[in-house]
């Protein structure tokens, strides 16, 4: 499709701002003015609306397609949360208002949402305190590891390493190194979970903590998780829970009860805030009492008279990590979702997510190699190694599914499984939809036996076929305006 800049027509207008009714024209001295005009496109409102509507139709999305993307939790985003987020009482609220003198009285509703979210999250996770500030999951990770570092500094601990399992998300090692620590990576055992004997060997006084996803990225719950906590705590290490997969154990196991000290939550996963094509997200972070003094400021407190206040006097705090109080409108959506579901609904989330995943695992394990043949949690990991012997790889199966109008599962992650295909159906999909997917996966396998050469042509039904990624990187074109220079 043509870009919006290609469609621009000189002097066409799509919007007029409120007129200047003050009867004067102010001038900026010449030396401070720009010389080249900003080349935003010139279009009518209809031109703009049609361009973007047509663009939207080139996308797969949850609203239009089954999206079993492992580890990403692409579940349905209820529409009423959008209504909540757009209420002008929230959307037009300036974040500096509560920082004015007596300004907190102007934002009691918003502060209450944040305070209530902290309490709800604490109850759901078994941790004591939360901050809503981190702007995404990875940002929450960074916040958590910064608190880990602040804790050790305050205690005079000399720490150098953070332990990360080899099946971890790529953000974990990236976060750890940005926070100034080095990585120790621990491989999984044949059951697909962290090898506790190997862990014992690697743990020394220099270990600052351990970051782990539970259930892990193989979709498996480590029954020895509290023993792992004991080992880490024995060297005054911090147990970090990557909450990416919290949706699998909601109401079944709380991180705080099995020894975790700090965790982040990806609201777009467990609490179904929209993914937005890659953000924005929100990444609340929870801690136990021992890390509480290090939480970012400002904090939200409830005064004796029941009013909500911002509080800054926390000398051990790691400081400011967001401009204000977090990605409020996403937190508000998550809050609305939690209120609607309630206790029973939240338990049902994990129940049906795990049921759907195990159903897929059972139906496909005769066709695809299943490296860890045991009950899984909310997602299951297959390997396309049998198909790969016929020269049909995980990526080819992914492209086949696109032509079946199904978004592919995650492929080539986790890195610990060759030709991995990671499937997460989520609780919002029905058995009937899942059956369609299972049939498509079986068909792909069948085709890999009869006509493996056909896979190179997939997908055929999309507006474009496989892009030339080498050309994209070698002949870098990231800006419409630079291509002509």
């Amino acid at each position: 499709m043509k870009t919006i800049f290609d469609k621009s027509v000189n002097n066409r207008r799509g919007y007029f701002s409120p007129s200047s009714d003050v009867g004067l024209t102010a001038e900026v001295p010449q030396q401070f003015k720009r010389e080249d005009d900003c080349q935003w496109p010139e279009l009518s409102e209809l031109d703009v609306v049609r361009h973007f509507t047509q663009l939207s139709q080139l996308n797969f999305s949850i609203d239009t397609n089954f999206y079993p993307l492992g580890s990403c939790t692409m579940k349905y985003n209820p529409k009423f949360t959008e209504v909540a987020a757009r209420m002008t009482g929230f959307s037009q609220l300036h974040p500096l208002l509560p920082q004015l003198k007596q300004g907190e009285t102007l934002t009691q509703g918003a502060l209450e949402v944040l305070y209530e979210m902290e309490r709800l999250m604490a109850e759901m996770t078994g941790l004591d305190h939360f901050t809503m500030q981190p702007l995404a999951g990875a940002h929450g990770e960074l916040t958590g590891v910064m608190m880990m570092a602040a804790y050790h500094k305050a205690r005079g601990n000399k720490k150098k390493y953070v332990i990360v399992p080899d099946s971890s998300h790529g953000t974990n090692p990236a976060t750890v190194s940005i926070a100034g620590y080095e990585i120790i990576s621990i491989p999984s055992n044949e059951d697909g979970v962290m090898d506790i004997e190997l862990l014992k060997e690697k743990v020394t006084d220099e270990v600052a903590g351990l970051m782990i996803t539970s259930p892990n990225t193989h979709g498996l719950f480590n029954s020895q998780i509290d023993k792992i906590s004991e080992i880490i705590h024995s060297v005054d290490g911090i147990m970090y829970y990557d909450g990416a997969n919290l949706n699998a154990v909601l109401g079944r196991c709380r991180p705080g009860d099995v020894g975790f000290d700090v965790m982040h939550i990806n609201t777009h996963k467990t609490f179904t805030t929209p993914h937005g094509g890659g953000g924005p997200g929100a990444g609340p972070v929870g801690v136990t009492k021992k890390l509480e003094p290090f939480l970012p400021i400002s904090r939200i407190i409830k005064a004796d008279d029941g009013s909500y206040r911002l509080s800054y006097d926390h000398p051990k705090s790691i400081g400011y990590i967001a401009p204000f109080y977090g990605n409020f409108s996403l937190l508000l959506r998550a809050y609305a979702y939690i209120l609607l579901l309630g206790e029973e609904g939240l338990r049902a989330v994990s129940n049906h997510a795990v049921l759907n995943a195990n159903y897929i695992k059972e139906q496909l394990k005769s066709v695809y190699d299943l490296p860890f043949d045991r009950l899984c949690m909310h997602e299951c990991v297959f390997s396309a190694k049998n198909q790969a012997e016929r020269n049909v790889h995980a990526i080819d199966i992914a492209k086949f599914l696109i032509d079946q109008k199904i978004h592919p599962p995650t492929v080539y992650f986790p890195l610990t499984v060759k030709e991995s295909i990671m499937i997460e159906p989520t609780e919002t999909e029905s058995k009937q939809m899942i059956d369609v997917f299972i049939e498509a996966m079986k068909e792909a396998d069948q085709l890999s036996k009869t006509q493996p050469e056909k896979f190179a042509e997939f997908p055929q039904t999309t507006p474009v076929s496989r892009p030339d990624e080498v050309k994209a990187a070698r002949e870098l074109n990231t800006n419409y305006f630079s291509k002509k220079s």
């Binding site: 973007f52 790529g170 049906h352 507006p463 990231t478």
Partner: protein, 452 residues
């Protein structure tokens, strides 16, 4: 199960359990040991959609959005055309994932390419990433990028940099050994002599802001030229709406440009989500953090778009990645792109001019009030500093009763500036609102000084 977002019926559940070979859903959770179950899970009972929205509405009513805002501080009350929210409400955009499968994500990918291009022409730079969390984290990422490029450890922050960003930068870099030099705060333009003094061959980058936090407009070309002599990179944080008129960082010669994109069509939303933008010179693109979308062709030679230079990102480089960020703020980037597309080339100039006119009118009206000292040491755009004859926070507090969010008092961030405040005037403020505002300020000052 009375939850509208779970589809399986009891019958479905039964059939699925049979296939799995277990008797109940509880049997699926046997890996969780009896002693590992929750010690408590006391959450409220669920609500119907109607009751839930009613509860949220009640909370919304406890917030005061009726105040007429003259408050900015980097976050502004601009009008957002209706088409913006209509487009980003399309499920095909907001319920899509990160575009890892390009064939079924061309909508998001092309939009992000267009966004990058719109940011480049806005800032006068050559390459932009597909967005970062917000203007503050963008500065932190820019600092890390600069240190990767020239492997130096000293960072100079100009006194005009938004104090919110400064505080964030301090927190993030606490565990890294960085030599920070904060230049003294002044409400005028950057202090050339002082900057010249501190820039040296050990300096990695200097961070400038235009217009600065106090509203002063500057042309940093000379500072940038000076920085280049020492191999110092220049990070320029900008307020996008001002670039409808003002000299771009590209024209000044900046190396890395960042900014808060909230004013490009994003509601204030009590602090987020916002939009961090970042652009740089082509030469430095491989050191830039964040996702980047490139144009290429498919197998049949058709134009298409794809995530490119992914080797810099965390999912490939893991601990060696340029940043731990694994996503951008796609939907906010799209939101700003729709806004920029509606405003258009001519509309942008007019919008910026209207902001300037209304702010200037306000300055002239306020200068008529006894005791109000409007700072004129530098030209300004749509925000400016005034000095009052008393603590500004008391004045702002008193003006709430008249229906105004009158400005942001500076005492909270700067010791000794208790009598100062910054006032922002966007295109939304009418002449009448401005005159009423001036009247309110005048009477509040009179009342407060007589009671002292």
């Amino acid at each position: 199960m009375l939850i509208p977002y779970i589809a399986n019926t009891d019958h479905d559940v039964e059939e699925m359990l049979k296939v799995i070979g277990v008797n109940s859903i509880d049997d699926l959770f046997v890996d969780i040991q009896p002693h590992q179950v929750p010690k408590s899970f006391n959450l409220p009972k669920g609500l119907s959609e109607y009751d839930c929205l009613k509860r949220i509405e009640q909370l919304a009513l406890k917030n005061s959005t009726a105040l007429i805002p003259f408050i900015g501080g980097g976050y502004y009350d601009h009008y957002i055309p209706a088409a913006v929210s209509s487009i980003i409400s399309r499920g095909e955009f907001y319920t899509a994932y990160t575009p890892y499968q390009p064939e079924c994500s061309q909508g998001t990918l092309q939009a992000l390419y267009e966004y990058q291009s719109a940011i480049c022409t806005l800032t006068g730079m050559e390459v932009s990433n597909a967005s970062l969390y917000d203007g503050g984290t963008a500065i932190y990422e820019a600092v890390m990028m600069a240190m990767r490029i020239n492997k130096r450890k000293k960072i100079v922050m100009d006194g005009g940099l938004n104090p919110i960003y400064r505080k964030m930068l301090r927190s993030y870099t606490h565990n890294l050994s960085i030599d920070f030099q904060e230049l003294p705060v002044a409400h005028g333009q950057s202090d050339r002599a002082h900057i010249k003094n501190v820039l040296d061959d050990k300096t990695s980058a200097i961070i400038l802001q235009n217009p600065n936090f106090f509203g002063a407009i500057d042309d940093h070309s000379d500072i940038i030229a000076e920085a280049k002599k020492h191999g110092v990179l220049v990070i320029e944080s900008v307020y996008p709406i001002s670039l409808g008129l003002l000299k771009t960082p590209g024209e000044m010669g900046a190396d890395i440009v960042t900014g808060e994109g909230q004013s490009l069509g994003l509601p204030l939303n009590f602090g987020g989500p916002y939009l961090g933008f970042m652009a740089t010179r082509k030469q430095l693109v491989r050191k830039m953090p964040g996702r980047i979308i490139g144009k290429t062709t498919d197998k049949k030679g058709r134009d298409c778009f794809v995530n490119t230079l992914q080797a810099r990102e965390q999912h490939i480089r893991r601990e060696k990645a340029t940043s731990n960020i694994c996503t951008n703020v796609s939907l906010c980037a799209l939101q700003s792109l729709v806004y920029m597309s509606l405003i258009g080339k001519q509309g942008f100039k007019e919008l910026a001019q209207t902001n300037l006119n209304k702010a200037e009118f306000t300055r002239l009206e306020l200068e008529k009030i006894e005791g109000v000292n409007v700072k004129r040491s530098a030209p300004t755009f749509n925000e400016f500093t005034v000095e009052l004859p008393m603590d500004a926070s008391l004045v702002v507090e008193a003006m709430i009763a008249d229906g105004f969010a009158a400005g942001f008092p500076l005492g909270q961030y700067y010791q000794g500036m208790e009598r100062y405040m910054i006032i922002a005037v966007t295109e939304k403020r009418s002449k009448k609102e401005i005159l009423d505002y001036a009247q309110s300020l005048k009477s509040v000052l009179e009342k407060l000084s007589s009671s002292v």
